[in-house]
């Protein structure tokens, strides 16, 4: 059993970690753009992002399933039921969360730090870099919360990954399966590990949040 547990845990961390890195790579630049200045377009985009933060994971799963399935518009990539499709789905799932949290951090810092930086002689690029550096602890917090949502979600992993043993089975899909089979020991073990991971991340978030 322990071999299976450790394999599933490792895959979960890898898949959700990759999804988080991917999501952060486009979410933080987007948040920087949204926080840069006030405009109707940016406000609408931010409202949309805020609305999508709580979007049900099964909905993302369904939409991506339709896109990626053999007959769907992106079917020719053959991504459905691969770890890559879970990565893509989770990255999309947590994008609004990271964008919204980061944008609010950056907007808060913007007014004052930006002015100070420019007045001290920074170029706009230097001022942006300073703003991001000043927001870093709380940006990291936003990214870690995204990771927590990714590793704990079931809808995307199940619908896009298909819970294939040794290939796309992750902690949440494994737990769901084991419970449905009445195998509570494995389910509880995995549940415990998931809890430790999520609590661990939350503890880091708290600590980092205080520093920023």
């Amino acid at each position: 059993m322990w071999q299976e547990v450790s394999e599933v845990v490792a895959r979960s961390l890898l898949v959700s970690g990759t999804a988080t890195v991917l999501a952060a790579s486009w979410s933080i630049p987007t948040a920087m753009f949204l926080a840069e200045k006030e405009s109707a377009f940016r406000r609408v985009l931010l409202d949309v992002s805020n609305t999508l933060v709580g979007v049900p994971t099964v909905l993302i799963g369904l939409i991506l399933y339709l896109l990626l399935s053999r007959s769907g518009p992106l079917g020719f990539f053959g991504l459905l039921y691969t770890p890559a499709s879970i990565v893509a789905g989770e990255a999309i799932l947590i994008t609004p969360l990271i964008v919204s949290l980061s944008a609010s951090v950056l907007r808060e810092k913007r007014a004052e730090v930006w002015e100070m930086a420019l007045s001290m002689g920074a170029t706009e690029r230097q001022a942006s870099a300073t703003m991001v550096a000043e927001s870093l602890p709380r940006l990291l917090t936003a990214v870690l919360l995204g990771f927590n949502r990714a590793i704990g979600e079931l809808g995307v992993a199940l619908m896009l990954g298909g819970n294939i043993k040794g290939f796309t089975r992750v902690m949440t899909t494994a737990i769901a399966l084991e419970v449905s089979r009445g195998e509570f020991e494995l389910a509880l073990t995995l549940g415990g590990v998931l809890l430790v991971v999520v609590f661990g991340i939350t503890a880091i978030v708290r600590k980092v949040g205080k520093a920023g």
Binding site: E112, E115, M116, L118, S119, M120, G121, T123, T130, G212
Partner: protein
């Protein structure tokens, strides 16, 4: 030297101008910007600091209209002016890091940075705080750090927003000495303040701000305004 020519400014989504048709020069020596809360002192200083773009009118720096310059030319002119916020804005990191900020963005060599940071800390009497975390200091100490950071870049114009609000009596006196010294060496200084005594002691001229209207008074004693 900074000059405002018929400058008007409104905050976004506000229908009334916060500054109305202001024409003034912030020349050498000390200009005290006096007025009640909410009259527009901060707004006026930020316009002079080239941070706010006027809705109408021009801001001239050394005779050149700042907001009609190409973007690439702006930095060099902005570097002649420093504005210090009323509420000090400290970056993460040490006091020395904060004071070094303006020097680092100017790409000075690390020896020059170290020497100038030292000099500025000395001038403000906060050398002993150099390694402290800036954000953990008291507001009064942070205000000194902000001032040291401003002095380190040796600006031609220095715009200070309520600089003594969080200083005690001896801090105020030291501050006044510092300002007088800078003014004697040719820095153009503007100080927004409630502190009448401070204004009286320091100023060569006054700008009275009332409800967004700014009036320059060249001989405040004769006009018996304070």
């Amino acid at each position: 030297m900074i000059e405002l020519k018929r400058v008007s400014f409104a905050y976004p989504r506000s229908c009334e101008d916060a500054i109305k048709n202001a024409s003034l020069v912030f020349g050498p020596g000390v200009t005290a910007v006096i007025g009640p809360n909410g009259s527009g002192k901060t707004t006026l200083l930020k316009l002079a600091a080239l941070l706010y773009r006027p809705r109408a009118g021009e801001v001239l720096i050394d005779g050149v209209s700042f907001w009609s310059m190409p973007d690439a030319a702006k930095v060099a002119f902005r570097r002649k002016v420093v504005y210090v916020h009323e509420k000090p804005i400290m970056l993460r990191g040490s006091v020395a890091d904060n004071v070094a900020y303006g020097l680092r963005v100017r790409n000075l060599s690390s020896e020059d940075v170290a020497a100038r940071v030292d000099e500025a800390l000395e001038a403000l009497g906060i050398k002993s705080l150099a390694r402290e975390k800036a954000q953990a200091l008291s507001i009064g100490q942070q205000q000194r750090v902000a001032l040291a950071r401003a002095l380190a870049v040796r600006p031609k114009s220095l715009l200070l927003d309520e600089p003594t609000a969080n200083l005690d009596k001896s801090g105020r006196e030291e501050f006044m000495e510092l300002i007088v010294g800078l003014a004697e060496r040719g820095t153009c200084i503007a100080v927004a303040t409630h502190d009448r005594l401070l204004a009286l002691k320091l100023m060569d001229r006054a700008v009275i701000v009332e409800n967004g209207t700014a009036t320059l008074i060249e001989n405040p004693e004769e006009a018996s305004l304070v």
